[in-house]
């Protein structure tokens, strides 16, 4: 046993080295977020005292609006995806109807369409619908695009639920809608959380689509906001508040991560399969 642990030592050394290299920029970001400019210039590498919490106040006043916007857009989109996708996935999984395979294939084939192809016509469409500079310009396309992979995942999960459950509910006089809400949804909870996390990550991190559809700075999402914020602050050499802004921008997803770690890893892995 002892020999085995010893044998693992080189592995630990390499992994820890990789870990340090990965984390150093983030540690530097956090340390610098508490510095004023004097401390930044005269003690670039070290931790300095006193810490300047005012950096956070300053950054928060600039980016809280973007976080709120991202929060509104992400929450609405994710609930939209879950609702629309679970209804369709349920229909595909538990019923037979003419054209079912064709319709399902029509949805799946969209996984082959890269975002770069549809960027320009989607923008022109949203513009023509008069949705530019509204949350809808983001929410509706996010629901539409997000549901594709969600239907794919949810359908196979709901199809794997035992038919007896649905059968006995129907015998008891439950309607389709009732079997959906009282059986399919509660039993699919873990996979719904995974799908939700996948979509939260995608929506929260998206940059190009909000950039083209939201010219109005007041409605910017966090990704677009943080780029403009960075250029402003690095131009003014206000490094402390700039890094404080990065920390604040990272907090919502990190909090989410610690509450849903297990689903998060599943969501990240299956999120990769999506592309």
């Amino acid at each position: 046993m002892r020999k085995e642990t010893k044998h693992d030592l080189p592995i630990h050394i390499i992994l820890l080295l990789l870990g340090i290299l990965t984390f150093y920029p983030f540690v530097f970001t956090i340390v610098t977020s508490f510095k004023d400019n004097f401390q930044f210039i005269h003690n670039f590498w070290g931790v300095t005292w006193p810490i300047h919490l005012s950096n956070y106040k300053d950054a928060w006043s600039r980016i809280s609006r973007y976080i709120l916007n991202s929060g509104i857009v992400t929450t609405s989109s994710v609930f939209g995806v879950l609702l629309v996708a679970s209804v369709s996935a349920f229909t595909f999984a538990r019923f037979d109807f003419p054209g079912k395979d064709l319709l399902f294939f029509a949805i799946l084939s969209l996984l082959m369409i890269p975002g770069i192809l549809t960027l320009v016509p989607s923008f022109l469409l949203v513009k023509r619908l008069g949705l530019l500079n509204t949350y809808w310009a983001l929410i509706l396309p996010y629901i539409s695009g997000g549901q594709v992979f969600a239907i794919f995942i949810l359908r196979s999960f709901i199809a794997s639920l035992p038919e007896e459950l649905f059968e006995s509910a129907r015998v008891d006089g439950a309607s389709t809608l009732q079997t959906f809400f009282s059986i399919a949804i509660p039993l699919s909870k873990p996979i719904l959380v995974t799908v939700a996390i996948m979509n939260i990550l995608g929506t929260w991190n998206d940059y190009v689509w909000p950039l083209v559809t939201i010219p109005d700075g007041r409605l910017w999402t966090i990704t677009v906001g943080i780029v403009s914020f960075s250029s402003q602050y690095s131009g003014l050499e206000m490094w402390g508040p700039m890094f404080a802004g990065y920390v604040i921008a990272s907090i919502p997803l990190i909090v989410l991560f610690f509450f849903t770690m297990r689903y998060f890893i599943a969501g990240l892995t299956s999120g990769a399969l999506k592309a």
Binding site: L15, T22, V84, T91, V120, P121, L140, T223
Partner: protein, 304 residues
Amino acid sequence: MYRRESKTVWQEIIKRKQCYILLLPTFLLLLTFNYYPAISAIYHSLFDWDGANFIRYIGLGNFTNMFQDPTIPLSFLNTLKLTIASLIINLTFPLLAAVLIFHLKDMKYAYFYRVLFVIPMVVPGMVVFMIWRFIYNPTSGLLNQLLISMGLSQLTRPWLGDFDLALYAVIFVGFPWVAGTSTLIYLAGLQAIPIEILDAVSIDGASTWTRFWKIELPLIAAQIKLIVILTLIGAIQGFVNIMVMTNGGPGETTMVPGLYLYRNAMYYNKMGYACAIGTFLFLIILILTYINFKYLKSSVEYQA
């Protein structure tokens, strides 16, 4: 006969109308926001179009223009470099990390490292880009400060503004590249290897090296191919990294097709041309996916 059959299908459709009603929201959204833009992009790639009133059919004119546009070969060459670099990166560092984690005998540590390498993925990608933009900052950046403190100040330079190095600076973003989905995918593949196989190997007394090359690597071939195709698709159409790090500069040295498409659409109002670039990228991705799919299928048959 035909009439009777079509009548029963029709009756069946009426009987099942509830199903179609349930699918209606999905398809209304998809028709509007997914199918229509995709078809519109391919259709409008054949037009000289400003996105509004001016529209003129020019056949394959946009595509022939692409071959005469000096920015196109330049941007595709950059994408080729970025794609190759991205492939090399994704096939080495994350694989190393995953295999090392997998080889740990104590599961507690394996779990610890997995979580450790997941946490950075939670930081928004844009924040990571911004931090790297600071790392490369010519005056106050981490990299130049590091070089100065090591007495190598002659090596300092404006990394992202350097004509020869800017593209490589963008490639280097995210070093050591282990905190990504690739690591998780490799690890999932490794953990799916049946325990009997690994036990048999360790009884045979195979070295770690043999175990990796002869057993583990062939058994995660599916994961490797998945990462290859994901990396290809991401590298060919992606341009956010370039956009926020260098915006194609200095000059046009780091221009990529995705960013050039964006510029043509948003700055020059050349919507038709932008659609043509998008269609071209779509075709490349389609062909590469098809090749990868064929390759994947044949190798599975080979295994069986």
